[in-house]
């Protein structure tokens, strides 16, 4: 069928803003969403900052499902989806009667529910834990929550490909509409902070103390973050017919796997993934105006990502900034937020900055990280990088619709 696919609604639920307008303003202002951890007792952790979303009030956003019946990550996913649909201007009744579904990416799913059960079990045993809570553990509930919040009867798929999962979800949603299998898709990702992942990253020596400073000479790691990111996808015909505002077009995506190491990224494989994405999107590398980096702020990731970019783009890669400097690493939602940022950048002609940037890294001299201040510029084509444990690389490409 080969339909063109466009994005007509955005739903960020993030530490720097809830809803497209707030999120866009925060990106332009280079706002930080990092604060001392409140969602769990961080006593005993030497590093205690995270990108939580204290302003998140699911009851004020969700219309159909009851937050009590769903874990925090499902609430993020469903709330983000609701916001994206509202932003798209489509009639919700019409949407629920259509061939519509969702694909949602995640790293931990409802692992914070499992963590609560585990904590409870230390005193009451597994036999004594809250049985209702135990029902909330399956990660499939993220996409299911989206569908049930919106009344969608089409496929609800949760892709748990860790920290590049939103890009997988976007790619799959794109295919569903491109091929004509479905007419509308909510795509994005969601995750919640928790003790286990905070401890794990700390133990890997990958957790920064106060701030995430991607591409900086002295970068020291990630800050864990959370939230929900959703984008509303439909065919160009559908958007045109209903007079919808088109933020951007999904041009294509590329996926591959390092098949080398569970944790250490591989520059050759990542460069290959970029080329795959360009080829699938029908563009040339030199057409890319902006790269929204995976940019975790670990010494290894940023060096590898920069190396791969130089390999693919030559000595002057396009500006490459990391919004993780503002949001922290929102795990499975990360590339969803990056996609939203890039799509906003295309629609509103700006690129978000890498905040906390002090000193250029002499090891990666060719990188322009858009230091600290957002840049007004025309973005015709943006590339969103997502890499993950397991060598799960996923890159999406978005273009200005004209």
């Amino acid at each position: 069928m080969n339909r063109r696919v466009v994005i007509t609604g955005l739903g960020p639920v993030s530490s720097i803003g809830i809803g497209a307008r707030e999120f866009s303003a925060a990106l332009r202002a280079g706002r930080s969403g990092i604060s001392p951890i409140a969602s769990f007792d961080a006593a005993g952790f030497p590093h205690y900052m995270a990108g939580e979303v204290p302003a998140f009030d699911p009851k004020s956003i969700l219309q159909r499902i009851s937050p009590d019946a769903w874990g925090r990550t499902s609430q993020f996913a469903a709330s983000a989806a609701r916001l994206a649909v509202e932003d798209s201007g489509i009639d919700p009744t019409e949407l629920s009667a259509a061939r519509a579904g969702s694909s949602i990416g995640t790293t931990g799913g409802e692992s914070q529910v499992l963590e609560r059960l585990t904590g409870d079990s230390l005193t009451v045993g597994f036999a004594g834990v809250d049985r209702e809570l135990a029902r909330q553990v399956p990660a499939s509930r993220l996409a299911v929550a989206v569908n049930r919040e919106l009344g969608l009867t089409g496929e609800a798929i949760t892709l748990s490909t860790a920290c590049s999962a939103s890009n997988y979800a976007l790619g799959y949603a794109y295919d569903q509409i491109h091929t004509g299998d479905l007419d509308y898709m909510i795509a994005g990702g969601a995750d919640s902070v928790g003790r286990w992942s905070h401890a794990g990253f700390y133990r890997l020596g990958a957790l920064a103390e106060k701030a995430c400073a991607p591409f900086d000479r002295d970068r020291s790691g990630i800050i864990t973050g959370e939230g929900g990111a959703a984008l509303f996808l439909e065919s160009l015909e559908s958007a045109t017919a209903r007079g919808a505002r088109v933020y951007a077009e999904v041009l294509g995506y590329g996926l591959n796997c390092d098949a080398n190491h569970m944790v250490a990224p591989d520059p050759v494989s990542i460069a290959q993934c970029m080329r795959l994405a360009h080829r699938n999107a029908g563009i040339k590398a030199d057409e890319v105006d902006y790269i929204c980096a995976h940019g975790t702020g670990t010494p290894a990731n940023d060096a590898v990502e920069a190396k791969a970019a130089v390999e693919v783009f030559g000595e002057r890669p396009p500006p490459i900034s990391s919004i993780k400097s503002m949001l922290g690493h929102t795990m499975g939602a990360a590339s969803g937020f990056s996609a939203i940022a890039s799509v906003l950048g295309i629609a509103e002609s700006f690129i978000p900055p890498t905040i906390n940037f002090r000193n250029p890294d002499p090891q990666i001299p060719d990188i322009d990280p858009v230091p600290n201040v957002a840049r007004e510029m025309t973005v015709n084509i943006a590339q969103v990088n997502g890499f993950a444990f397991g060598g799960n690389n996923a890159i999406t490409i978005f273009g200005r619709y004209s």
Partner: protein, 378 residues
Amino acid sequence: MSTGAIAITGWGVLSSAGIGADEFARAVTAGRGSAADVSEMFEEPVPRQDAFALVDFKVRDYLGRKGTSFLDRSTSLAMVACGQALADTDLVVDDSNNERVGIALGTTAGSVKSTSDYSRDTFVQERPYLVNPLVFPNAVMNCAAGQSAIRYRLRGVNTTVAGGALAALSALRYARNLIGCGYADALLVGTTEEFSPQVAWATHFAMEAGGGDLAAGEGAAVFVVEDADAVREAGRRPDAEVLAIEVGLHVPADEATAGPETDFSESLAGCVVRALSRAGVEPGEVWAVASAENGMPLTDGFEDRAIRAVLGDGPVRLRVKEFTGESHSASGAFQVAALLARHRADPTLDGRVSVVTTRTSDGAIGAAVLRGWSRGVE
């Protein structure tokens, strides 16, 4: 359209009923398989002493010691099943084509024990960060797919689908899309689920709530999936062609009162109808249905009603969980494997069409249509 059928050209399985396609096939044909004593498997208490678990499974017996001591059970089962599947297919995977060969594995919530134990360590260790970095990846859901890719050097698309009971069909659908759209030539597709105290208790709670009495199970099944047309053109005979996979969500009319007992039968029946239609198959052609029935009277009743509404009373019913337990995401792949098992040794079923149905307690539903063939002399 990305709707070309996909072919299964080899498979592997580890279940309490049998390990490897041939053994599993013999067990399914004989209707063999029973729960084992699991009281010694873990230190933590379990709700019942029996489960359809692979009590003696040790990954090093299959893959050696190097690189395996820190693997979780879910990942281990998947890795062995992937190896079996690659050994069972006539597809050759090497450095010349491994960029086009990927993995799509389904799960419920990954290795729940690994994630739970990680959380536990943050509570009970002297300091909350004294966790083992080597097993951190095990706590993340894409571990099985990532480790399998490393083991077998598969550099194509690597995806993990969290779908619970629906995961096997979702992963097959995902793979069909990738192959149909040209992102990959072949994928290892399947699901894996480990038995653990956490899973045992969750299963027990669900069974009590649903009025069932089935023990938990575990295992993995993995299928080598390729483009059906390409396989046919190359003159190869697949074990099966997956003609259609349709999935959807039953949305309760009223979320405020919705529980797991919401009647999904009409939605599931619609799903089966769509699948048959897409496959170009008449209900009367279907010889068997592998269902997700697990002994919970109400939900089994909804599933049964959906199946009978579309297919009548004719087809053989394979209630796979009766001899493999409630293995959550792995059960979906066992359903497919059970149909392949019946075909494998029985040429009289060559070319016959069968159906897989499934449902989750959250309203996700799915149906697939398969056409299978036997192995052995042509």
